[in-house]
Subunit: 258 residues, 2 copies
Amino acid sequence: MRSGVLLDIAGVLYESDHEIIGAVDAVERLRVNGVPVRFLTNSTRRPKRSVLEKLKALGFSLKAHEVLTPAEAACRWLRQKGLAPHLLVHPDLEEDFAGLPASNKIAVVVGDAGRHFNFDRMNAAFRELVQGAPFIALATNRVFKDADGELSLDAGAFVRALEYSSGTVPVLLGKPSREFFLAGARSMMCDPRDVTMIGDDAESDVSGAIKAGIGKAILVRTGKYRSGDERRYHPNPSHVVEDIAEAVKKVLGSRVKN
Amino acid sequence: MRSGVLLDIAGVLYESDHEIIGAVDAVERLRVNGVPVRFLTNSTRRPKRSVLEKLKALGFSLKAHEVLTPAEAACRWLRQKGLAPHLLVHPDLEEDFAGLPASNKIAVVVGDAGRHFNFDRMNAAFRELVQGAPFIALATNRVFKDADGELSLDAGAFVRALEYSSGTVPVLLGKPSREFFLAGARSMMCDPRDVTMIGDDAESDVSGAIKAGIGKAILVRTGKYRSGDERRYHPNPSHVVEDIAEAVKKVLGSRVKN
């Protein structure tokens, strides 16, 4: 048995550009104890390059192959199907879609475009869907904790808007897609049942991981967590803890080295 | 028995600023035959004043009390509850909400803001909903036929976006709200079972009217109609006809005067 840990990033490792106290140490403790770690983010406002830079600047040590993003999954999907993306994403994310082969058949790809969501871009994507283009959702999260500390609309709102009006059901590639969690487990060479997911989104990270067959999912009370989230979605979390430091203690249990 | 007719406006009486051929005559034939008529629109991009002006300019004769709009219904609702509106609507519609008493308690009101939907306005409405504000949807139509002849996103897309992320279920005041159809029948002093709705939206106008208890609902193949719409939503239309001229023939049957 080889156990592994999947970590959400925003709201678990950092908040408003600051490390969540103890997060760097917690990740380090997993490594010292030989527990493989993968970082599974649904944030699609920045390219993978920038996710890595940000985590490193905050003091985390990690390698590129340890971070799994929905944009990478989307590129694999588009290559397999021979489709070019019609992107409704944050301009900063566009670099993650560079280098795809050209195609005259397209798929609509929606991420968290934030302030770059506007009627004309939404309507252009809608019209492609009505013409029969396949629909990829990088994420369907309802809300995220914004820089001002309040909740804001996440990609899911705009995905549901397009789904409702076009009648096209999206293929979800980020969490809580079963395939995304399983890709994380596979990349650590772990049986999914021996893996623990740690996240602040009770629906997408926690309930989603358990549904996908991940052994345990721990909800942290940082990031977007709001009182009552642990009972809002089924299945409920395996554990609810204050923060990642406490979550890692739970994971390591008696075999802690330091 | 006093029979009456409820008419949708855009896509039934006109398209892209032109009268649908025979529409003025068809409405006139209803009047000549003593059939009362009410105009029930879900278009919320222009105030009632402008709806009347437009129909008159196209040659229709009608009075203000014959046009029922979701904004009027919303104003009644807000007065009853003592709430002020937080408007996420087209700027042109704002005049229909002038004159409401001030209140420090608000309700979020969403109409078809078109290009005036943007992330900041959507997010501001979302944050009011998360704080517990009631949610009024003037309409939840999926699509409308735009000036360029193509389908575009209607208010429903943005209503569903806010509903999904806030977890707040909207109160719908336009079609297919049961109360909106019944208010139309009541205003003609008709039993709803003796009323016929004529519309181009198979879901909101037609299926909705029948569910609300309106006797018959006729789908016209003008406006936003697309092949297959007659089987897309249940209950199906009572009849499917080419246009309003044919629909009015069906309504008048043998008692036509001219």
